[in-house]
Point group: C2
Chain length 328, copies 2
């Protein structure tokens, strides 16, 4: 099945741009609703960081070094690289006898406005703590201490990545369709969009045992610390705040978004074909409207979907719509 | 006809994202080649600034105040708001007895790195000169002096915009399908993608008379000053530099791109449906490869299309392809 139109941009009464994609809602029994092709293979990118954090939990590594909910949220984060993020990742690494130099994520300028300005104006370069994936990598380093692997924990045949592949395949219920190298140099395994939604439904389902407990603690940590999962102004943070601990949402590069809804046992995964984040943010907001978890008048809904698009002089120039997902 | 796949993003041997769109190549007699639907209605956005500058030339306003090629290039520009841009627009306005306060484009932080850092570190806000459209608006102000209209030159029924509508409809050969408000608050008229390509073919054709001369002077100004049309690192600037004055290219918001090729009498217009600039930049580079105007090994071609996509540690993570337009 082909991708379907999920998000539209209207200007002057005309359709200016369209985002096509695939989206799936699953519960514990399988697909509840789907748009486009549930079998379409995607790279989940950062949307699956909670899957990548399962071995950190299940191995006992997280508890052995006493990771709290803040660290667990950071392990699942694509953060803004603000001081609130970098200082916590730094303290985490120091607490396990490691440092920024042990990370293998590379560095980039942070999105956080204040920290970006501080670096710019002090002519200081960013370090690896600023990388939006530094929390995930701190988790890899922590797991690697437990597993006793060599320092290059990002290599595909490294015990850290092999443990992640196993968890990823078990949770999606699929053999990985392949793998690619992510922006942060870690492997990213491919799966169907339906498989990713199925994995998210598992995260939304209360289950006993090591795996079930690991899932639940990660989701609760995300919902408890929306500001650590992304940062001020970001869709993950603002949508989670708006839904007040009822839902975890997580973005991934190239326009992937997932949602985990424990109170309904539902998991959602969506991918906008063109990789445009505007589309995936609008589509996940539309899903939250559809399920009644977010109201169209909420500031977060307005920002990412329902509000007018204002230009540099504050003039109303157009709007987004997601007619196949929700009306308002 | 539906949009067709123009640009693909590959990672780990799998197709990760796709950009669909419409593209048309015209000569003086009409369509030479088309992808997707030539009748699809689009907003050209900033890709049609040379059309919006025609009344500035034909009215005699440009020559009356002695505008040179730098000002004409700026009138057609979506610039980075660097000092090279803002100082020239400022001098232009002062030269006609006006100032930044006469602009109606609004202000936003410039893309130019040095100027952005200067404003950030001095806690200074941007002014309207920094708006990427300030040159176009300086042209509107100049034309308005000649026409004697009121100060709100951006209103749809203002003589400045009515003159632009007439030129736009004559050049595209179509009645405008509508209009919207652009990011800079000016009206933007809608046309078919084929109509936009037809207009660009006219800009590529030598023709005597006031209109013909106006077209030629604008295109030559763009090709003479690639750095004024956009700025360092931008696709318009780097692609025009790479083609050494043989081709004018211009981007528009929501992933529009045009090309004017005087030596072949060809005009190109393309629109990526999703509005993603990555797609339109790659697609116009592919068009230049197809026509033999750019080589795949050229640094500009590599940057926007043919080169590997490197991550924060310099690792090769994937690549773009445009199989329906060009192979390399």
């Amino acid at each position: 099945m082909a991708a379907v139109e999920l998000v539209q941009l209207w200007r002057g009464g005309l359709l200016e741009s369209s985002h096509f994609g695939h989206a799936v809602i699953c519960d514990g029994n399988g697909i509840v609703e789907a748009w486009g092709d549930p079998e379409a293979v995607i790279f989940p990118r950062s949307s699956c960081k909670m899957l990548q954090a399962l071995p950190l939990m299940e191995s006992g590594a997280a508890d052995a070094v006493g990771l709290g909910t803040e660290q667990l949220a950071l392990a699942c984060a694509s953060h803004n690289g603000g001081r609130m993020h970098t200082e916590r990742v730094d303290a985490w690494l120091q607490g396990i006898g490691c440092s920024e130099a042990d990370l293998r994520c590379g560095s980039h300028m942070p999105r956080d406005k204040a920290e970006n300005a501080r670096l710019t104006c002090s002519h200081e370069g960013p370090c690896q703590l600023h990388n939006n994936c530094s929390g995930k990598h701190a988790g890899f380093v922590t797991l690697n201490q437990r597993l006793g692997g060599h320092d290059e924990y990002g290599e595909i045949d490294h015990p850290v990545q092999q443990a992640i592949r196993t968890a990823f395949e078990e949770e999606t219920g699929e053999t990985a369709a392949g793998w690619g190298i992510d922006g942060c140099s870690a492997p990213n395994f491919a799966c169907s969009i339906g498989g990713l939604a199925r994995a998210m439904a598992r995260f939304a389902t209360r289950e006993s045992g090591t795996r079930g407990e690991a899932r639940q603690r990660l989701v609760e940590a995300m919902m408890l610390h929306p500001e650590l999962v992304a940062g001020e102004g970001r869709a993950c943070t603002e949508l989670m705040r708006a839904m007040r601990g009822r839902v975890a949402v997580k973005t991934g590069a190239e326009a992937v978004f997932i949602a985990i809804i424990p109170e309904r046992g539902l998991g959602i995964a969506l991918k906008i074909l063109d990789g445009g984040t505007r589309g995936s943010e609008a589509a996940i907001a539309a899903m939250m409207l559809r399920l009644g978890l977010l109201q169209s008048g909420d500031p977060a809904a307005q920002k990412f979907l329902t509000g007018p698009i204002l230009n540099w002089r504050g003039k109303d120039t157009g709007y987004l719509r997601a007619p196949t997902i929700a009306a308002w």
